[in-house]
Subunit: 264 residues, 2 copies
């Protein structure tokens, strides 16, 4: 397939295509296989967080079987938080749902959701962990849902590119099965994660000052639990502003008069 080196024209320019995010991938071969799978199923935006062996890597291109465009245009990040900052929703694929209170979706349900987002111009991220280590719990807590591929529990070690393959296959089925007529919801769009994380940081700073995180060794899990609950709310940008106002009001408002109240 040496002839396939540049991206083919978009089949559905009306859709905001999901991106694939690989967190700390170890093998360049797997990154190349992921690029090939992305080309098979019509995706092109590849984001790589802290690749073990650096970037670019020749072996990725060699394994892509000519699907060079996701690799040529791949963007590199230091953290998952940075890689997902501009996205509206992120699905973390993991074989073992952790002890989080995030909803667990099948690959098919993930495709349904991603497609609904894509029709509304919202960008979805499909996040996959490192080959052996998987995803950090703290990174999963940044996501909206967990996607679990229904492997045999007796042998759940799925190759990274095979996991991507299945999630993207369901995406393509959804694209093919759905007529183009979009019905747009009246609901406002969820805020970009960067705004949401601003709210989290604000809240957590104030709670820290208030001595809420006690005992200190529980701070991380307490923070995660707060974030997970707020993630589920899918706050809009306006709501994020409102909730920042709530935090400010609770912290500073006591004793103030209405006249001194600064507008939110």
């Amino acid at each position: 397939m040496k002839e396939n080196r540049t991206a083919p024209p978009l089949e559905r320019p009306d859709l905001t295509l999901p991106c694939v995010i690989l967190d700390r991938p170890q093998m360049a071969e797997n990154i190349g296989s992921v690029a090939r799978v992305m080309a098979n199923f019509g995706l092109r935006d590849l984001r790589i967080v802290d690749p073990r062996d650096g970037w670019p890597q020749e072996r990725a291109w060699a394994m892509s079987s000519g699907a060079h465009w996701p690799l040529d245009n791949a963007t590199i990040y230091e953290t998952v938080a940075e890689a997902i900052a501009d996205l509206n929703a992120v699905y973390a694929t993991t074989a073992r749902p952790r002890e989080t209170q995030l909803p667990v979706r099948t690959p098919r349900q993930c495709a349904d959701d991603s497609y609904a987002n894509a029709q509304q111009g919202l960008k979805t991220g499909l996040l996959f962990g490192a080959e052996r280590a998987g995803l950090e719990t703290s990174d999963i807590a940044l996501c909206h849902s967990i996607v679990t591929i229904p492997v045999d529990p007796a042998f759940h070690s799925l190759n990274l590119s095979q996991a991507v393959n299945i999630v993207l296959y369901e995406w393509r089925l959804k694209v093919m099965d759905t007529p183009k007529e979009a019905f747009t919801k009246n609901m406002d769009q969820p805020a970009a994660l960067e705004k949401l994380h601003g709210l989290y940081g604000h809240l957590e700073d104030e709670l820290e000052k208030a001595g809420f995180f006690f005992p200190p060794e529980k701070k991380e899990s307490m923070q995660r639990n707060l974030r997970v609950a707020l993630n589920r709310a899918q706050l809009t940008e306006q709501e994020v502003r409102t909730w920042r106002g709530v935090v400010t009001a609770l912290v500073k408002g006591r004793g103030r008069s209405l006249l001194n109240q600064t507008p939110q």
Copy 2:
């Protein structure tokens, strides 16, 4: 996954499991990847027709990530006709349906059919062609149906083990017969509304004292907007307690020392 070397017990001894047949595979690595995928999705009978580099091949075991049993028990044949002689139905997967008069099925339809066979004690074969050459027309003519994976026509070169992965994923979905719940079973129930309204009242009282609801005529709609966002989060009872603690901490905690902090 070094510990996984022998087949786990059958999950569904009532089903006659399909077998996977690889026709003239070239790369031992791909055979190993196929074994891993078979283990992921609960299949174990692997048949190999005329492997290019002979058999056995160490690289297949190395790539199987511990899924040794399909390789250890693989059977080798000279022709497709011999490999399928004992089967009741065979599905040939190919990206490009040829000029045959065979019905073309999706992977999902193939799983439906294979499952119906499996319940009746009939053995289905899932046949995949060589990496580049694909299947011979004369071998396809021995089959009952063609399975086509819905790849982007602009880049239809699917890796052999990825093709197997998708067909077997659909098989497993069928076995699991997945109307999956959106939330995990072990996820806690959303809190009773009375608890939730206690949180709302607590928050709103404090915001009232802080002068947050300004101008006063907007209080009702501001309250409603806060409640709507929190409703979407579907907080559990534990989370309601946590968030009441958050409100208390923000209001009262400022300036307190950790020692004085009341437990939440």
